[in-house]
Symmetry: D3
């Protein structure tokens, strides 16, 4: 049985994340999705609560027909001590064989601990990245085409666009 | 759709927990199991990592035939600020309708925040409680009959009895 | 008896704050002024200690003839976990009926908890805001006319202008 | 103008505390009462929130006829780093001339920082101490005669006895 | 070049510690002594500051003729998240080949991370242990013969016995 | 015996630091070098672990012929509470007579505590500063001439340039 850890903030979960996640589900028996900065919410950089992010990802994988026993959804608060954060995270999840990340900082930390690291190639990072999508939500641009349909629905249901506009007002 | 939050430390998950959890699964569409003191491990009071506890509970519910989409398993580190911990926890999980707890401290905290609290009656707490079960593991007593079979298997696989004995040595 | 919570950083307390505070004192029996980021001091963004900020506000309200039993002055350190911070703060102050804030982030957090939120209209925010006033102190501009007279006196007494200049040097 | 810092947990505020506080009010122009462990509530050791403790003390001093401008009431969360806690606390309160404490641990910490420390003689500590009073509340003993009348009233209003009984159940 | 990590609280550094440390200095080129609970001081369990403990150990090794380039003295504050603490500590010290510990909790944590662990046999733990030595200081018993001479001198210089007596009063 | 505290981040240790440190070694019997932000590593602003920074500084002082008993190397994690950080740091190091710093924020904090502060004049800060040197490493500029030779060797040995390039990628 093989298992990979896939950490991210997912503010919000977009099509780039989905592409990577489906690929990991092809290659591993199980994927542990770690939803980072879980203690943050209602800020411009982290508008959605961890709970909302868990639900978004769960809805997407359900709509993609991925069995619920193929993935774990784990919220992880920051501890602002990078080397400590790595083993902190490892202790919070079922045992994994590798860590998949596109973030060189995270990659270094896990290599330093001696773990196997899969360095992800991000999928069209210029189109699919959280900062850009939040900015589009803020400015009335086309953010919908960058996230899976069920994520757009979820965001509408929680009035996510209005939320992002208000908490990012000075940055819009 | 109804959802209830069920927090606990589950060191280890025993038959009293299972009885309560199955009852909550009867009454609610989904149960969010919050595995507390998630940052602790390899101590006498918290011998198992949060990841191990997640796996134990998942194995039990699978063996009981509970569908994976009926429950969420969420590790939650302590923050040692009780009033803050409540909303911290609420932000980390999908929206819930109530909190189920047998712990009066936790009940007070959520009532103080205005949440609906189900005060659980513990199931034979003299036989099924974590402190007693860890002590039995320590002293060579009959701990196996107090936990679901798949939990006993899991504990054996990770050499849990030896672990408890060593980290509790002075308290055995 | 009605009571409202009014959180802010007050670096320093200026005429915009005073306008809002006097209005809240008209509408409520008591105002709980929560002095945030209380653990910060001697930085460019937070040059004054919480203790100094408490004294500034107390001096202003005394000079305005507001009775000491009409307000509470409570320093509150950041805990960098926004959803937890809200209930943390509620537990540290006498029970309040509402929260008054001009900050959409804070408003969302308290609404999420189910509290009554008064969304404040800031008073001439282009003239009366902390960032601008600190910049004027730094550059030798006219900061005095933007703060109540007793605040200017207090700042002079603790050599506040020199302090801001030195700790903000690179940003002056 | 002279000012003294008087730290304590005040769970609850009792006649021993009052005796000391009135004496400090005789000797200093102002007393800064620091309500410690402010982040704790609804536990057996810390049943009352910081906000409740602030109100209890305020009610007592009002009933004693002490002017509201003679004292400051400041909640202070623990930071569990004793040497850091001292300067943390000093930064959160108006400047003080001395610290008054009956706790040798606190006395050492402030002496180590170079502050003037008044070593308090506790007033009949065998009759007036928080642990004992909470135990009496728990067991149905006579706790009322050990706290000022207005504190007893306040505790009744928030159902404090029932609270202590429930959260201390195993220790009653 | 070989290097071993030797963590402990050293409250105070006693002859059992010295025996172990000299043995490690025989077997490794360098020893990294990690002085734990460094944020604690002036409590009954941790009467001495981290700085004082560093000096005690340095004085002892000097008097034993151990070259200053054979050992590192590193204070390490607790972070109360055991699995995180391990990698936190590894990041704070020069790279080590192994960890030497007599504490099974610490041994498990490092084994869990994949490190080489030397399980130390404590040297006459019934005679040489910190708890006992602090109790002897408290009760006027013979603590001097249990610590190296230069440690006794150091403790006398900082009035350590009086300190222990006062902060441990209720436990003496 | 005189001792001075010299705090810094040393990312990396450069010739400006060395100049200051040698001067302090001329004026004091011992220098306590406090390596700050010790909990950070593998980020653009803090690429090197605390352990690596300790080794760099130790190698430099050895190559300069400074006796190992003339200096202490102490890693200090941030606690993000500036006034608390000062006494936290003082408790972690041997007793010092003064603090030497070129940082006005740090100078204010120690003056506020009543300590003697030496305000350092930085040595050619336009040439020798960490931000600039990391930027040069990133862009392929001449960083080597700005750090002592043994530091350049150390950085090469740990592939420091590649590390800085990867973790700073967006800022290069």
């Amino acid at each position: 049985m093989s298992r990979v850890l896939y950490p991210g903030r997912f503010q919000p979960f977009h099509k780039g994340h989905l592409k990577v996640l489906l690929k990991l589900l092809d290659e591993f028996d199980e994927v542990v999705v770690a939803v980072g900065s879980a203690q943050e919410a209602f800020t411009c950089r982290n508008p959605f609560t961890a709970g909302e992010r868990l639900e978004m990802i769960n809805n997407v994988l359900k709509s993609e027909g991925v069995g619920r026993d193929r993935y774990w959804l784990i919220p992880v608060p920051d501890i602002r001590m990078p080397p400590a954060w790595t083993s902190y995270l490892l202790a919070m999840v079922p045992v994994v064989d590798a860590v998949a990340t596109g973030n060189p900082h995270v990659a270094y930390l896990y290599e330093w601990l001696g773990l196997r690291v899969l360095k992800l190639k991000l999928y069209e990072p210029d189109r699919f990245n959280g900062t850009l999508i939040r900015r589009l939500m803020c400015s009335g641009g086309d953010w919908r085409s960058r996230v899976p349909g069920v994520v757009a629905e979820y965001i509408d249901r929680v009035n996510g666009v209005e939320r992002v506009r208000r908490v990012c007002s000075s940055a819009c």
